[in-house]
């Protein structure tokens, strides 16, 4: 029983550390996503960000391919990291309840 508890405790520590790391990576990604608007035949880019519950459109004008790629990648990684972070949170809940039993952890 002790061995099993030890393994579960180690896994819980790993998951807690992992949660912090995913949150750190999410915070590092550039905020918002770029959208393209066509105005009078010309294409312009806007950065869409959420600020205090409100959606803001920040004018960016014409952006380079590099910047477009940067925001595209950031969007993909954000979705991936959020999904994995939610998995980690589920693991933490499960491990905490498995370890707790009737004793305080």
């Amino acid at each position: 029983m002790r061995v099993l508890k030890g393994v579960l405790k180690e896994e819980l520590d790993n998951s807690l550390r992992m949660k912090k790391n995913y949150e750190r990576e999410l915070a590092r990604l550039p905020k918002g996503s770029l959208i393209k608007k066509k105005i009078k035949g010309h294409e312009y880019y806007y950065l869409v960000v959420r600020e205090g519950g409100k959606v803001r459109f920040i004018y960016k004008g014409k952006v380079s391919e590099q910047e477009l790629e940067k925001y595209k990648q950031a969007k993909e990684y954000r979705a991936k990291y959020r999904k994995l972070l939610s998995e980690v949170k589920k693991q933490i809940r499960f491990l905490r309840s498995a370890l707790r039993g009737k004793e305080p952890v």
Binding site: E11, N14, R17, M18, N21, R24, K80, Y81, E87, Q91
Partner: protein, 145 residues
């Protein structure tokens, strides 16, 4: 064990193989058991309980010629870099798997990590690890050796 965890482990090994790194690395620890399954195919054999840590023993860091950024190689699989405690060795973390790099500790004991710039990681030093390759077993998987 979940299938996704096994598949993820294979994908990590596959990518290391493709990058030409796997030949410098030996899979050690509890994840070996998984590959022993095929080795002991004729006998009744069930892999033991294991944690998420996949330990990769870097045989001779100085022998690795080309530089490979392993954290970048595995980034799109969802692995993030985790620095462990005050020692600062790198682990690549994913909810299903944690990839750790080990090197054999020689000489005076040290709790400092061992930088392996060829792989872009800091490895953990472990005493007597060099004894393991004496009983090395080569397994061939679907897409990597």
């Amino acid at each position: 064990m979940e299938k996704s965890q096994y598949e993820l482990c294979l994908e990590v090994l596959r990518r290391l193989d493709k990058a030409g790194v796997l030949k410098h690395i030996v899979l050690v620890g509890s994840w070996c058991m998984l590959f022993y399954k095929s080795y002991f195919a004729s006998a009744e054999y069930a892999p033991i309980l294991k944690t998420r840590d996949v330990d990769l023993y870097v045989l001779q860091p100085s022998a690795i010629g080309a530089k490979t950024d392993v954290p970048e190689l595995l980034k799109d699989l969802g692995f993030v870099i985790g620095f462990t405690g005050s020692q600062g060795y790198i682990r690549l973390e994913h909810p299903e798997l944690i990839v750790e790099f080990l090197v054999a500790e020689k000489g005076r004991p040290s709790d400092k990590p061992y930088p392996v710039p060829q792989l872009g990681v800091n490895a953990q030093r472990l005493r007597f690890l060099e004894l393991l390759p004496a009983t090395l077993s080569w397994r061939k998987s679907k897409t990597c050796r």
